[in-house]
Symmetry: C2
Subunit: 413 residues, 2 copies
Amino acid sequence: MIQIAVMGHGVVGSGVTEILLSHGDEIAKKVQEEIYIKKVLDLREFPDSPIADRFTKSFEDIINDDDIKIVVEVMGGINPAYDFVKRCLQNGKSVVTSNKELVAVKGAELLQIAEDNNLNFLFEASVGGGIPIIRPLNQCLAANTVNEIDGILNGTTNFILTKMIREAMSFEDALKLAQNLGYAERNPAADVEGHDACRKICILASLIFGKHVYPDVVHTEGITKITLKDVEYAEAWGGVIKLIGSVKLTDGKQEIMVAPMFIKNTCQLANVDDVFNAILVKGDSTGEVVFYGKGAGKLPTASAVVADVMDCVNHIEQRRNIYWEDSDNRDILPFEETKYAMYVLVNTDDKEETIAKAEKLFDEIDVIEKPDAGTSELAFVTPVMKYSDFEKAFAQLPDSSIQTVSTIRIAAL
Amino acid sequence: MIQIAVMGHGVVGSGVTEILLSHGDEIAKKVQEEIYIKKVLDLREFPDSPIADRFTKSFEDIINDDDIKIVVEVMGGINPAYDFVKRCLQNGKSVVTSNKELVAVKGAELLQIAEDNNLNFLFEASVGGGIPIIRPLNQCLAANTVNEIDGILNGTTNFILTKMIREAMSFEDALKLAQNLGYAERNPAADVEGHDACRKICILASLIFGKHVYPDVVHTEGITKITLKDVEYAEAWGGVIKLIGSVKLTDGKQEIMVAPMFIKNTCQLANVDDVFNAILVKGDSTGEVVFYGKGAGKLPTASAVVADVMDCVNHIEQRRNIYWEDSDNRDILPFEETKYAMYVLVNTDDKEETIAKAEKLFDEIDVIEKPDAGTSELAFVTPVMKYSDFEKAFAQLPDSSIQTVSTIRIAAL
């Protein structure tokens, strides 16, 4: 029998205990050990839980219990999760977490402590919820050099964009609907401003490059400025707008970014709708591989946590080989130097003149024809260019007769 | 240093040596051991190989070499692969294979020998080529009860169907093109008759149910009878025709089958084109998860083999927990009892009368309207019904004025 503790009894935590209790026999058969939840840490009380007698409000009950070999951290946030996880790893307990903020901000340090103590620190559930991605990247694709990952990593924003694309709902209405359905928080900033997706792409980037990429060095844009007009022009162009977390290695530099992007309908990410997530991985041997599923939610996320716990049980003596080193992030290409083609929407009194001016500024442009376009609207796509060059040219575009409205990157997918 | 042997230097085998030689340093860093190819078994000669001096024509050179701890079997077929693999496992050598026929036909026996000898028998590359699927099913989704898997498991047939769907090419022309491009063998039966897909769904079914499912008990249909007319009616119905390997558990019975099926355009499998494969897994906690990528090819498949070798190196002392027991396949539902809605195409002198007759026979039907349908064509979809009931009703449909043309299952996806 292996004894574990679960820190946090919120959405994911209650799912973890639910799965361990409901699937206990099958899980025990698979790992050839019974997994026993000895303690659950939460400040709230849950008298109706079938294991109500094992709840505690004190972390000391867990850290001081030498029988507890694995601790599940599903509290979220940095404090006190960071302190608790560190102390667990320093005291002989392996840790499984679903906490993407913790892994994105403190991953290198915690992985080092785990290695120093020959313990496991696993976090499959931190990216993609129930979608297997960390372990496939680390093991199944281990014989590949992975040079690029592009993903729809946040279900809330994907739900909002899907409503805008499929039902012509405005951003504000779609956000309200997402909040009513429980997909978005009352303060939706972490989702709609791209921070959640940023943490996830940082974890994936750290894993494939073996060096920690910190969220604060990653250029991050959300979807709050996307309008229905942009969505319509994306359709006229032959695609959709998705919030993409992207990382790739070019000439030894990491290009990493979170931003809404136009993607072609033929791309495997284009049909990923609603709260689903999908992650496209490019390996030098496998080519494109895509992982698709529910990126969040109680049971999908909890099942990934429990799978990590089972892996810890299978490797209670021998560490899983998962690690990245700390980094000063000097390998990150400044986002001004990243290269994308850009979609530009302007209002103009004279389309022909504006097209001529844009062609001068951007070398050449592809005008997007939309049958019901307003008479003053002009949308076009620039060539692939350095963002700093785009900005310079773009600044010269507006005048008394031209007002710029939107700019969005075109994904190179 | 870990010494290995590679049996077979064909497409996959040469890819395995290529990856181990070209990615040797990175791989050694990841598994903290150098992996050294001591012997390559092939009856042919490869004087230009950088490791030409390590080739042998005798299996005895491998089986009698106690330094060789891991043997890669990429010869294909049952003989002599089965005998060689068995002897390796009986003589203290872990085995990694990409041989789906071997695993589908002899998996239970070989897994038992591996378990008895505390060795690994791994076969990630046997299904889905470079797509991670065996390990994710066995580990990442281990906390789930997986009740259903549906997959596009054969790249050759998917290429042919894609050409028929996207370019209105006939089956015969698409097959010829596939042969010219090297995607199909000169004798294409194993692919186009569904046998290859059958072996793969058997492996997946064995894995999720823990009991061996043998290919000869699985109802298997190929795509040779699919016509462009069927493809057009599928489009009019709102979908495409794909060759689907499907297994699900219903009331303790396994429904397993390989057959061409209509699938809706909204299904994640509908946009899987060309030689790509995709596998949709339904877990009770995760919901739908889809794995997409290249299902065959030298480097994708070889990279999956090498990842398994790396896993063996990481678990040289401790067995990976992958196992299913032998079975008499009594749990398999006879295919006559499986339930599907059916697409039916007939030629008729009198559409109204035929519709009335079909409504009587099948209770109710949905007629598929196709703008350019021939005046004598009638296509409809039946309700979901037991196949034996469908057959009974269908036999009563034709008469002097009605000739039946095609029947194809509608996937319940």
